[in-house]
């Protein structure tokens, strides 16, 4: 009897976990593709940097459920479903990645940057061979923070029909079914821990010996 229930949860859970992973991975990829280049550009524009970081910080203060709600009526990016959820998750992921990219690159020792310039490296070579590798641990730390929060926030995406492990949690709350809540919450927590562990490992691996 109980084993039948568990079997059903497991069958449905695999699909929901897949949806959850799609939400998190797409949001992280898009957020990185925006925030890392933007962070690089902002290192040489102090005024733009303050404005961009302020906007990204304000974005993060909007409660996630409200943000999902706000996005629904907006044409193209809004509506019901996965893509609206991904837009919201991207907005949350931007700040830690942007901030850490800026901090990481500005933190490169001025003497090292100076000697790179004096050796006849071009701006692009300095970025690729010196600044990005030296900033990598800090940038990855930003990705790590973004990934862990995105895994958690993505559970709320079920509220606007985006699927994922939040489906179990919302259904469990509605039907006062602890088993369903746990079936959503435990895999989400494990996923967050796995993302944290994997990116933490990468962060240490990139640190200069």
């Amino acid at each position: 009897m109980l084993s039948d229930v568990l079997q059903d949860l497991l069958d449905e859970g695999v699909g929901l976990l897949g949806e959850h992973l799609v939400l998190v991975l797409s949001a992280m990829l898009i957020a990185s593709a925006i925030a890392i280049p933007a962070g690089v550009l902002l290192t040489s524009h102090p005024r733009g940097r303050r404005v961009a970081l302020a906007i990204a910080s304000i974005g993060q203060t909007i409660p996630s459920l409200a943000l999902f709600g706000f996005l629904i009526p907006i044409p193209f990016i809004g509506g019901i479903g996965q893509h609206t959820a991904i837009v919201a998750l991207v907005l949350y992921g931007l700040l830690p990645i942007l901030r850490n990219t800026v901090t990481g690159i500005l933190g490169v020792d001025i003497v090292v940057r100076d000697s790179a310039l004096a050796m006849g490296m071009t701006r692009g070579q300095i970025l690729r061979m010196v600044e990005l590798p030296l900033a990598a641990p800090t940038i990855i730390a930003g990705l790590r923070i973004a990934a862990v929060t995105t895994v958690g926030t993505a559970t709320i995406a079920a509220a606007i029909g985006a699927g994922g492990l939040g489906v179990f949690i919302f259904r469990g709350i509605a039907s006062v079914d602890k088993l369903q809540i746990l079936a959503g919450a435990i895999p989400a927590a494990l996923l967050a821990l796995a993302a944290d562990g994997a990116l933490g490992w990468l962060e240490r691996k990139c640190a200069p010996r």
Partner: protein, 251 residues
């Protein structure tokens, strides 16, 4: 033709006058030491040579051509640069640090490898033991040797030294000064060397250019420097007299 020519060079930053109408030629193969106190403009003069900064007025000519007309990437790849603590890339091995400019210049991998091991041997860091180490695994003196090898890597016509031995203990410093003289005899490069240490200047210079408040206070060989009546030169010579006996013991 002179290797480097300063023509009435003035440099200001934020309204502050750093170099005031400097005219000076540096001849091929000589070691010109820019001597002066902190803030005298000596490092500024050095950075004008490889176009890290451009003159506010006047011209710095390298090979007869003003730095303002050079492609700065090309200019800098032809000028070796050594700074305090070496300025090595912390995430590169010793071999990669030394081979960087040849790599940027598109040398073949085996040519870079043989050049790197040859240079490491010549600065007394056997390639076999040192090429795979990272800068943090070296002492200050060893880092500085790597810095010198790196500056020599692509066989530049001019070498710039910005207080390279300033952060070293006196024993290592003396060691590297001797090494500098030996390498100069080997390679015969035109060198410009910034220091505030008059003993160092007297030891390694073929000519000394004494800067004081952005102006040239003295220019000539060390022997003439001892006779200079200029008050700033006397001030530096007093330092030399104070430490005279020490200097004799050291030699």
């Amino acid at each position: 033709m002179s290797a480097v020519e300063f023509h009435s060079v003035t440099y200001r930053i934020g309204g502050r006058l750093i170099l005031d109408n400097l005219t000076l030629s540096i001849e091929p193969g000589e070691t010109l030491v820019l001597l002066g106190r902190s803030g005298s403009g000596k490092t500024t003069a050095l950075r004008l040579i490889n176009g890290m900064i451009l003159p506010t007025s006047g011209e710095v000519r390298i090979g007869g051509k003003p730095t303002s007309q050079w492609d700065l990437v090309r200019l800098r790849r032809g000028i070796g640069y050594v700074i305090q603590e070496g300025g090595l890339f912390p995430h590169f091995t010793v071999a990669r640090n030394v081979g960087l400019v040849p790599l940027l210049e598109g040398w073949r991998a085996e040519d870079i490898a043989s050049r790197v091991s040859d240079l490491l041997d010549r600065v007394n860091l056997p390639a076999r033991d040192y090429s795979r180490r990272f800068p943090r695994e070296l002492s200050g003196g060893q880092r500085q040797r790597v810095g010198v090898a790196r500056a020599l890597a692509a066989d530049p016509g001019i070498l710039l030294f910005d207080e390279p031995f300033g952060a070293l203990d006196p024993v290592t410093r003396l060691d590297l000064q001797r090494e500098f003289l030996r390498l100069r005899a080997d390679f015969g490069k035109t060198s410009v060397f910034v220091t505030h240490d008059v003993r160092e200047a007297m030891k390694i210079a073929t000519r000394i250019a004494l800067l004081h408040g952005g102006r040239l206070a003295f220019l000539g060989p060390p022997g003439e420097f001892r006779q200079s009546p200029h008050p700033e030169a006397r001030a530096f010579l007093d330092v030399l007299l104070e430490s005279g006996p020490e200097l004799n013991n050291a030699e």
